[in-house]
Subunit: 229 residues, 2 copies
């Protein structure tokens, strides 16, 4: 009887999560009801609450699962890319691709910007996920050997992470066919980011850039020193 197969409870949990993702995807997070989700999973409402403390917890579970499932692909992208451009393009592209089938559901996360809301990407509750994600951007920067002022370089990973969040936010609400506006935004802003980084690297020999870079450095120091993200 000491079998090591997946316990039945785990199977039920999975079924409920899968049903939730389906219903969220079809009707959106707000409109979806726990009754529907339970019905879709073939269990009673109480059972859903047995496995997930609240409706929010279902979204959290999705978020964690996504992180887990994407990690190997992100790692591979970092390993095979040669430039920062390739790395960023790869990482962010992979995210959008992975999230594509659950776009409506992702909006349940991005829908809360308030860091006090548990589901917010800036909340305490999502800190472990965020930190792990940040790690990929740290690697992308570290392995790219950039020339940048010391006032800016240490903050670059977090800036890039924030840039990614902005893109995802735009993408979530982008109703253009095939989200082509997001693609345009991604393509152009990525070029701009890299051009800006290159320019910033010239700071020592181009005093012209000082009025832009000095306040930037001061801001980053002040804002990020006491903040979580």
């Amino acid at each position: 009887m000491a079998r090591r197969a997946i316990p039945k409870s785990e199977e039920t949990r999975r079924r409920i999560l899968a049903a939730a993702l389906k219903v969220f995807g079809e009707r959106g997070f707000e409109a979806a009801t726990m009754r529907e989700i339970a019905a879709e999973a073939g269990v009673a409402v109480g059972a859903a609450y047995y496995y997930f403390d609240a409706k929010d917890a279902l979204v959290m579970a999705f978020y964690e699962q996504a992180q887990e499932e994407m990690a190997p692909a992100l790692d591979a992208i970092l390993k095979r890319s040669k430039t920062l451009e390739q790395r960023l393009h790869g990482i962010i592209g992979q995210k959008l691709e992975y999230f594509a089938p659950n776009r409506t559901l992702v909006s349940a996360l991005t829908g809360h910007i308030d860091p006090a809301h548990p589901l917010s990407p800036f909340s305490r509750a999502t800190a472990p996920i965020r930190d792990r994600d940040l790690g990929f951007f740290e690697r992308a920067v570290a392995e790219s050997q950039l020339r940048l002022p010391a006032t800016i370089l240490p903050f670059l990973p977090r800036l890039l992470w924030l840039y990614q969040m902005g893109l995802v936010l735009f993408w979530v609400y982008d109703r253009s066919p095939k989200q082509e506006r997001t693609e345009m935004l991604f393509e152009k802003t990525l070029k701009m980011m890299l051009a800006a980084i290159k320019l910033a690297g010239l700071a020592p020999i181009k005093p012209l850039l000082k009025p832009l870079l000095k306040p930037a450095g001061e801001l980053l120091r002040a804002i990020y020193d006491e903040a979580a993200c």
Copy 2:
């Protein structure tokens, strides 16, 4: 009997709105209930619904009232300012100051980024308010006589409006004492904005800036041409 005094109904309407603002401010938009609001106003729930179609409508009314009340001050700021810096500092500063007593309530507006949600600052329903607000930034730009590439100048008012929205968003969730982090963000990014505008004006003689400005111009054209905001 043809008195022109404020009709009693208008007075009731005001009382309900005032009560709503108070309750929203104390408990947040979501947590506040129509029952509480009605009680606070000393009327029955039905009365609140007689004047306001729904809970959302109360927030809308606040938004409209704010727009209306701020207009003269914004106009005065534009008239007495000499530079773009003064104008932006004045306009945005005035907004934050006006909103300060209702910070929690403003989060009911900024809390919805989804342009499909009526209360979103990017929605159709808020378009009239947005357009009018945009007008102030158009004036700020027009009256400042800036030298900028033709690929960018026409979009500057909308960029500045978006910049303002970003600041307000940060401010709403800024829990630092006296929102000093927002102040820092405002001060530094304003400097950066102006430095960037100055730099962009040098584009014809500084080919160095081309890799940054070219994609920027292309992006603005593509994104804004078909969008509402």
